[in-house]
């Protein structure tokens, strides 16, 4: 009792305190430490809240009715689903806060660390309250706080042009999502006074199917643009590389998951699920996002932008799980549907861990080499051994390699898709194999992409002076990353413990019914029900470890000769220089050719000849660019239309005070006349 009622205010107090104190901190150093302290207190308290709700399955409620009582007041109501997402937020914020202590030292003098500390804590506060929100007002307030705070965080390096552009795209997309979410909530709310989620649940039962469909579409568009589904993902590859690395880790690992939370909350909790086309839409959107995300990630040389595109891919995978679960749910196959939803939740948790880890490790690299371009790195495994190992663990996790967590959750998504064959209508059931094919392709391409990312950045020889001079990152940055690496390993090996807990979380979501046989005591196996498949990650890990150990021992017993170091075989070459190594572009080139119809790379070849004679070539420049063509097709027309409207409106702004007074008088007359016409 006591612990629960203390933890929630403590969480709020931690973040608010961290924000205010950071703002008034006397020096940048103090600001850094205070920011981290506030964030750590808040995250630990949030974890306590989440743990309590998940273990007891009793919701925690905190109301502050005086704040804007007309809108229902501030209501925090943490049920198991909210607690799960709160845990995800806290799991991401804790390492990020620790990381920020040393990382933000690089910004001293360039930007105000006090302001950064304020925005950082406000951001964490916003995300936590979104997961806890119990009525519309609290949700929207927290959502906006989160979006605005993250905008300011993205603009930390506002002296770089790219960052300003990224900020513009980002703020436009967040406001777009708000503009879609407000009508959605309006449609859901049965009345002005009753805006609590409990009331919405009751009211949603009385909505007509068309209205429910519209609400669902608005939810998918609004929450989807926050989550980063194709084609609303365009802000992700711009904003995430521009932000400081631990902010990118938070945005990519945690913030976009709140979009998923929104979809689950609105579509499956408040509205109790719907017709099959809901799940079908999610499945299509998820498959396309997964495939396109990884395809564009393959072509990237900017380490952080590559990771950002992978976030798009993984959100796609989560939505595939959701879609599969939703379709099965709408056909009444409840037991099988829970696999899909559990898979989605599991992948949410796992992605937060390994994406956070990858961004933090990438942040280490960027911090020390002062470049994000992979083509200038190399050989970092010798200079930054711990960071390399951390990045390797993250890469293995995101490539879904056993026995880490990425494999366990992708296995569950596959099982959920396999369950789709039980659907009575074959046309719908045939969509599932197509989704399986696309998911498998995305998974294989992700493995290829991370071989490139890890191999080019960390292995072989340094390709530039930056990389050659790099040293290992400071301790706090490494500690934070190790926390997440440990989480990846534990969540993977301990899958058989995590999955039953997820089923229990799903019990609280309104429309889902969990088969009691499904949530046994945690054992060694995770299984898809109806014996669709069994897997034991912990036993696989044990098996692998023992076999490798036996092999190593046997080989070293049998083979007694010492190791000899020598040059790489050069096929007759004498010197081995970094120029002879494979580059990132070269690595991705076969896949670029295979998917050339999709990428449509532009090619530009310029040959400049000597002024005296056209037969002597001075230089040849070849540029080839892969630009997402749907940005040109979808967004350029919108941007151009916006500009045209702006130009048109500018004509009204003449600068003449008299004309403005005329506008005011005309508007007043029109308002009075309209009252006259409509009584």
């Amino acid at each position: 009792m006591m612990a629960g009622s203390v933890a929630l205010p403590l969480m709020l107090g931690g973040y608010v305190g961290g924000a205010c104190l950071a703002l008034v901190a006397p020096s940048s150093r103090a600001a850094r430490y205070i920011t981290a302290l506030g964030a750590i207190v808040g995250s630990v308290a949030a974890l306590a809240v989440a743990a309590r709700v998940l273990v007891t399955a009793q919701p925690l409620v905190l109301t502050v009715p005086n704040v804007l009582a007309a809108a229902g007041g501030l209501v925090l109501s943490v049920d198991p689903l909210g607690a799960f997402f709160l845990a995800v937020v806290a799991l991401g914020s804790l390492p990020a806060a620790i990381y920020g202590v040393s990382y933000t030292a690089a910004y001293e003098g360039r930007s105000s660390l006090q302001f950064f500390g304020l925005m950082f804590n406000v951001f964490l506060l916003g995300m936590s309250v979104v997961a806890c929100a119990g009525n519309i007002f609290t949700f929207v307030l927290a959502w906006e706080l989160m979006s605005l705070a993250s905008y300011f965080l993205v603009m930390t390096e506002a002296d770089v042009v790219e960052t300003r552009e990224a900020g513009l795209w980002y703020i436009a997309m967040t406001q777009f999502s708000l503009v879609t979410l407000l009508p959605m909530f309006l449609l859901l709310a049965p009345g002005a006074e009753r805006t609590a989620f409990a009331d919405l649940r009751v009211g949603a039962a009385h909505l007509t199917p068309q209205l429910r469909g519209i609400v669902f579409l608005l939810a998918v568009v609004g929450f989807g643009s926050k989550a980063g589904v194709v084609p609303l993902h365009v802000w992700l590859p711009r904003a995430h590389p521009a932000a400081p690395s631990h902010v990118s880790a938070l945005m990519s690992g945690v913030m976009i998951k709140l979009g998923i939370y929104g979809v689950i909350r609105v579509a499956f909790d408040l509205m109790n699920g719907g017709p099959p086309w809901w799940g079908g839409l999610l499945l299509v959107v998820g498959s396309v996002s997964a495939l396109l995300g990884v395809l564009y990630a393959l072509m990237e040389h900017d380490l952080k932008r590559l990771l950002a595109y992978h976030s798009v891919e993984n959100i796609g995978i989560i939505i595939i799980g959701l879609g599969a679960g939703a379709i099965l749910h709408s056909y009444g196959l409840q037991t099988l549907a829970t696999i899909g939803f559990a898979a989605a939740l599991y992948h949410t948790l796992n992605h937060a861990c390994f994406k956070g880890l990858l961004f933090l490790a990438a942040g280490n690299v960027v911090h020390r080499t002062h470049t994000r371009n992979m083509e200038e790195m190399g050989g970092l495994i010798k200079q930054m051994p711990q960071t390399a190992l951390l990045f390797l663990i993250g890469s293995a996790a995101i490539a879904a390699l056993p026995p880490l967590n990425g494999f366990a959750s992708e296995w569950m998504v596959f099982q959920a898709l396999l369950a789709g064959t039980s659907i009575p209508r074959p046309e719908v059931a045939l969509g599932f194999p197509v989704a399986v094919g696309m998911l498998a392709l995305a998974s294989g391409l992700a493995a290829a992409c991370f071989v490139k990312a890890f191999g080019i950045s960390f292995l072989a020889m340094p390709r530039s002076a930056h990389a050659a001079d790099a040293r290992e990152a400071p301790a706090s940055m490494r500690v934070a990353a190790w926390m997440l690496a440990g989480a990846c390993i534990l969540l993977g090996v301990g899958a058989s413990v995590v999955v039953p807990a997820l089923y229990r979380v799903l019990e609280s979501v309104g429309g889902l019914v969990v088969d009691p046989q499904l949530a046994p005591a945690p054992g060694l196996w995770i299984e898809a029900p109806r014996a669709l498949g069994h897997l034991s990650p912990v036993l696989i890990a044990a098996l692998l470890a023992s076999i490798v150990l036996v092999t190593v021992v046997t080989v070293h017993r049998v083979h007694r000769r010492p190791l000899r170091l020598s040059d790489t075989w050069g096929c007759g070459r004498i010197a081995q220089t970094p120029r002879m190594e494979y580059t990132a572009s070269a690595f991705a080139e076969p896949l670029r050719r295979v998917f050339a119809e999709l990428y449509r790379p532009t090619q530009d070849l310029t040959v400049s000849v000597h002024p005296d004679s056209p037969h002597f070539v001075q230089s040849i420049t070849f540029t080839s660019e892969v630009r997402p063509w749907f940005e040109e097709v979808l967004y350029d027309p919108i941007v151009r239309a916006g500009r045209l409207i702006g130009v048109g409106v500018r004509r009204l702004q003449t600068g003449s005070v008299h004309l403005y007074l005329v506008y005011v008088v005309a508007a007043l007359m029109a308002a009075l006349a309209s009252v006259w016409w409509w009584p």
Binding site: P426, E427, L430, V434, V594, E597
Partner: protein, 218 residues
Amino acid sequence: MDGLFSQLVVLGASGMLMTALIVLWRRGVPAYITAYRWQSWLLGGLTACVAYFGRDPALYFVAAALILLKGVAIPFLLRAVERRFGAQREVRPYVNTETSLLAAGILVLFAYALARPWMAVTMLPTRAGLPLAMALLFVSLFIIVSRKKAITQLVGFLMLENAIALLAVVGTYGVPLLVEFAVFLDALMGFLVMQIFIYQIHETFDTIDVEQLTRLKH
């Protein structure tokens, strides 16, 4: 719905679909002729199967006619065309090979969705072949549309005719010999006309790339 008959029908129809995929996959004309020949033989074999299991002796003659005309005679004529223009390989079609194959896969699924109501209505044991026959139809149309060389389009047209014959065999246990002959003569006329066109295109442009026909505008 098991049973040897259904399995054989699905096997034969899938085989015919595979040969159409070979046309999408390979680039050389001899491969196309071989694929067409196998397809016609499979069609003949399938008709003979239907004759045996459906106890309709007239279909044996249809099968024999199919094998003779489409499995032997037309490939022979095609070889003559190939000897003149066989060096023309389908190097860069409108849709590249991987995309064509994936599109063919999607067309098969689409044909299945389309044929479902029909499958639900008929009670024949051959109804499992209906979606495959429709898929073959769509894939043949796709071949005609996405390939540039006239000779590939010719092979696509012949496969289209095979698809219609398959649809007739599988959907209604075949058609009377007279109707089969009439349809075949129609196709033969189309074949001869196309052959004349190929000769003429080659005379005018020195290539059988159908894209060159746009030059006739000016």
